[in-house]
């Protein structure tokens, strides 16, 4: 199996490894995959007051293609609104990294991870919006 | 003692120097072609390069080439793996075709050793069961070429598949897999300057093939077992070298002319047919083949009394018998086969030694008594 230079670059120099505080209101966390299947991705986004994704972090247990796919999407989502981030398709990821056919599932997992992180963020904000007690300020996330 | 003259290329042809270089390199580098690491990928690369060379030599697609341990395995794989309930084989096939399936029906040949096409047509019509017809490209003992295109035409009309054992033809005449229109083609590397222990079955895209051995998924599930990387690499180089053709027909013709000048009653078997340019099967009346072989060996010349693979037993040739050659005449037939390193001088030495023998033995009273 031969891998594209872009894939190898993301595998060897993964961007945005790490974790954000999952209890932070502005942070959405997606955890997809299963250890028994050999792939687990954790992808986190932090949405700023302006509605833009200002930070993204990931951790992945999986093959090189899974690591590269998750690294790539953390780059892609940054600076986008969550609606824009939601439009990222697995085929875009697969194409960009030139994933071999047997590794397409990695890009699917990465797309799922974004969607899961966004869903988590939305669920959190909905919960927060419900009581709308007057005077409560939306916390400005610390940089 | 002068260097021996080797004129038994249909038994095995010595590997060309470039073949050896490729093999030694592959042996030194190692690697299991199924491994994903670099050593494995290198080995895989050697196999795929060779696959392209072999495919090119016989006008096939690389994906149609299945490497095997040799011609015998390829023939067995085709005959058992095509899965056809009926198998028809010509009477002059190699044992690895004749004995591959127990219930094979034998198609007769004429006096020149050519498959009887009207008999084939009749036999194909006799039953409606799906059939496989197996006819060799060139005979190992006489070099006689078979009308494969005609065989294919008859088989297609009857809806039958065709296997062609091209072990002796490859590297000696142009072989065009798609042009011939056969479904399966067997190849062996060591018959044309490649190594022993490697061959191939070329399988037309879409032709049925049930693997006869189980194991890893090598050769796209058509032939399990770790590939003989060095052998395959050598096969590829031999295929490239063979693309230039084998230009020994003039030497062979001169040999036949001279031998018949020495012994006017000498018979060249299959002479009326189109033959490989490298093979002659000739009888020196009154002198047993073994006697000739031994006398020539003492003179430093290697030829054979027939096919080499009958495990050393010198039995009556089934090929000559099928051609209707009387047993006593068949017992006096030797096979001379030329190859890529044969020189004009080799042929002169054979002519001289054969002349000595003929003068010494064939005209003695003993020989006449033996013949009578």
């Amino acid at each position: 199996m031969t891998y594209s230079p872009k894939l190898i670059d993301h595998y060897e120099n993964p961007r945005n490894i790490g974790s954000l505080d999952k209890n932070d209101e502005g942070v959405g966390t997606g955890l997809v995959g299963a250890p028994a299947c050999g792939d687990v991705m954790k992808l986190q986004i932090k949405v700023g007051a302006d509605g833009l994704i200002e930070d993204a972090k990931f951790k992945t247990f999986g093959c090189g293609s899974a690591i590269a796919s998750s690294s790539l999407v953390t780059e892609w989502v940054k600076g986008k609104t969550i609606d824009e981030a939601e439009t990222i398709k697995n085929t875009d990821i697969a194409k960009h990294l030139a994933l071999p056919p047997v590794k397409i599932h990695c890009s699917v997992l990465a797309e799922d991870a974004i969607k899961a992180a966004i869903a988590d963020y939305r669920a959190k904000s909905a919960k927060k919006d419900e009581p709308v007690s007057e005077g409560e300020q939306v916390a400005v996330p610390a940089k | 003692m002068s260097v021996s003259v080797y004129l038994d290329h249909n038994a095995t042809s010595p590997p060309r120097p470039a073949v050896l270089d490729a093999m030694v390199e592959a042996l030194r580098m190692g690697g299991n072609p199924s491994s994903v690491h670099r050593a494995g990928r290198n080995a895989r690369g050697r196999i795929e390069t060779a696959r392209r060379s072999v495919a090119t030599l016989v006008g096939a697609l690389p994906a149609e080439v299945v490497f095997t341990s040799g011609g015998t395995e390829a023939n067995n794989l085709a005959l058992t793996g095509s899965g056809q309930p009926r198998v028809l084989v010509s009477a002059v096939e190699h044992d690895s075709v004749l004995k591959a399936v127990a219930a094979a029906e034998i198609v007769p040949v004429d006096h020149d050793g050519i498959v009887d096409l009207s008999a084939l047509e009749r036999m194909l019509r006799e039953a409606s069961e799906p059939a496989l017809v197996s006819v060799m490209l060139a005979n190992n003992e006489t070099g006689v070429l078979q009308p494969i295109a005609e065989v294919v035409r008859l088989a297609r009309t009857a809806g039958a598949l065709v296997h062609c054992d091209a072990v002796q033809g490859t590297g000696k005449v142009t072989v065009d897999f798609h042009g011939l229109g056969v479904d399966y083609l067997s190849l062996s590397a060591h018959k044309f300057g490649g190594p022993t222990g490697v061959g191939a079955l070329v399988v037309r895209d879409g032709a049925p093939l049930r693997a006869d051995r189980r194991g890893g998924g090598q050769e796209r599930y058509r032939r399990a077992g770790t590939e003989n990387v060095a052998g395959i690499a050598g096969f590829g180089v031999a295929a490239e070298a063979a693309a230039a053709g084998l230009d020994v027909a003039a030497l062979r013709d001169r040999l036949e002319v001279e031998l018949r000048r020495i012994a006017p009653d000498a018979v060249v078997h299959g002479a009326a047919a189109t033959r490989l340019g490298n093979t002659t099967c000739i009888s020196m009346p009154g002198v047993k083949a073994e006697t000739q072989v031994m006398a020539l060996d003492l003179a430093g010349i290697c030829i054979s009394a027939g096919a080499a693979c009958s495990s050393g037993k010198v039995g009556a040739s089934t090929v000559l018998a099928a051609m209707g050659v009387p047993a006593d005449e068949a017992a006096t037939a030797i096979r001379v086969s030329l190859g890529w390193n044969t020189t004009a001088d080799d042929i002169e030495r054979l002519i001289a030694a054969w002349r000595d023998l003929y003068v010494r033995v064939a005209h003695s009273d003993i020989a006449h008594a033996q013949a009578a």
């Binding site: 899974a66 | 199924s34 040799g70 015998t72 189980r214 990387v229």
Partner: protein
């Protein structure tokens, strides 16, 4: 320094995949060379000296192979490799004795070619018992004894497993088979030349051997077939009747000679080599354990060939690890299946959890492995496992004390 280190260029990875294949020993290659160049005759050509020379080489090699396993040279048949030997042994006896016996016993951790052959025979109407193995990878002898009946034609149990290197109790299995009148076939591709084998003492009736696992060439193997009491087989490849009718086809003389030479070298050097490799393997394992927590050796460590380690590096996926350790050639399973993404069926059979099976590497040490290579390999493994654990969400959870099994994972 040995010859192989000179052959390996500095930019080439360190080869640690000796169970997939072994490099050809330069001494083996040297023995083969004359048979490529001037002794190239067809060993079946009895009519001239080229044929005789080739035959002599082939027969001398046959004796060398026989000696390695305590057999008579007449009991050795050349094949194109262990896959063919396994196919021939199992199908051959099953077919020959099918009117009297129709049952086969094997284990779930056999090489794929044995399992596939058995499955094929099931389709032909044979009954096959696939014995489980214990957690250490070894077959339970009492279970085996119970499985063999008077209908059992052959018991096929591998001598050494290709993924985890464990050695099955051959002598005990042989004894049971002899008592019950079943033939005992063992796939010794990974065992021959590495551990002492004796077909008499172990009551082995059929044994498969591979050239390229013992520093010989690819494309050649052997099958031992007992003559007293005689084991009979139906041939798989028919034709010229070579190899006493068991296996037709022109013998590849240089390959046969290579197999013989490889066998002889293995036999001569076995004891010293086993000691050397055991030391290297222990050095590697200790080196890894000193710097990496939560690594687990799969399969019994004592009943094992010296040149094998199979380790689960918890929380690190095996393929990504392989991609990282570019300076090392190792494998994440057997070579035949390493291009597929399924976790090893051998590890699953030991009861290794699927998530653990995904974290396993097979490390094979061999004749040309040096202490320096082992140390380099340890460093590289430690570096990459540490790096990958830092980016593993599972490692993070484990550090936080979260039980991964408590999470409901969506099946993907």
């Amino acid at each position: 320094m040995n010859a192989f280190t000179q052959i390996r260029r500095n930019d080439q990875p360190i080869y640690l995949d000796y169970q997939a294949t072994t490099p050809v020993d330069p001494r083996v290659l040297e023995a083969m060379m004359p048979y490529f160049t001037h002794k190239f005759g067809n060993a079946h050509s009895r009519s001239h000296s080229y044929g005789w020379e080739a035959e002599e080489g082939v027969e001398q090699a046959r004796a060398q192979v026989a000696k390695l396993i305590g057999a008579d040279e007449k009991e050795i048949i050349y094949t194109s490799g262990a896959t063919e030997s396994n196919n021939l042994a199992i199908k051959g006896v099953a077919e020959f004795y099918k009117d009297r016996r129709n049952h086969i016993v094997t284990t779930v951790t056999e090489h794929k070619c044995v399992l596939d052959t058995c499955r094929h025979l099931e389709q032909q109407g044979f009954t096959v018992t696939y014995l489980p193995v214990q957690k250490n990878g070894l077959v339970d002898l009492e279970q085996l004894r119970a499985a063999v009946t008077d209908k059992t034609v052959v018991v096929s149990v591998m001598a050494v497993n290709n993924e985890i290197g464990v050695i099955q109790p051959l002598a005990e299995i042989g004894k049971i088979c002899r008592e019950k009148g079943a033939f005992f076939h063992t796939d010794a591709a990974q065992a021959a030349g590495k551990i002492p084998l004796d077909v008499e003492a172990m009551n082995i009736d059929l044994m498969s051997i591979s050239g390229h696992k013992i520093y010989g060439p690819k494309g050649i193997g052997a099958l031992y077939v007992r003559r007293r009491p005689r084991v009979r087989l139906v041939a798989l490849i028919n034709g010229g009747g070579q190899e006493r009718g068991f296996r037709s086809g022109t013998l590849p003389t240089p390959l046969c000679v290579g197999l013989g030479e490889a066998a002889e070298i293995c036999m001569k050097e076995m004891d010293a080599e086993a000691k050397r490799l055991t030391k290297l393997r222990d050095r590697m394992l200790k080196g890894l354990q000193a710097k990496l927590p939560e690594i687990y050796v799969n399969g019994d460590l004592d009943q094992r060939i010296p040149g094998n380690l199979n380790i689960s590096f918890a929380y690190v996926e095996g393929e990504s690890l392989m991609m990282g350790i570019k300076g090392l050639s190792v494998s994440s399973g057997s070579a035949c299946t390493s291009a597929s993404l399924e976790p090893s069926y051998v590890l699953r059979a030991l009861g290794v959890e699927e998530e653990m099976a995904h974290t396993s590497l097979r490390i094979g040490l061999g004749r040309f492995t040096t202490e320096q290579e082992v140390d380099t390999a340890v460093d590289e493994l430690v570096r990459h496992v540490t790096k990958l654990r830092e980016m593993s969400p599972l490692w993070e959870m484990a550090q936080e004390g979260i039980d991964i099994k408590s999470i409901e994972w969506a099946a993907h």
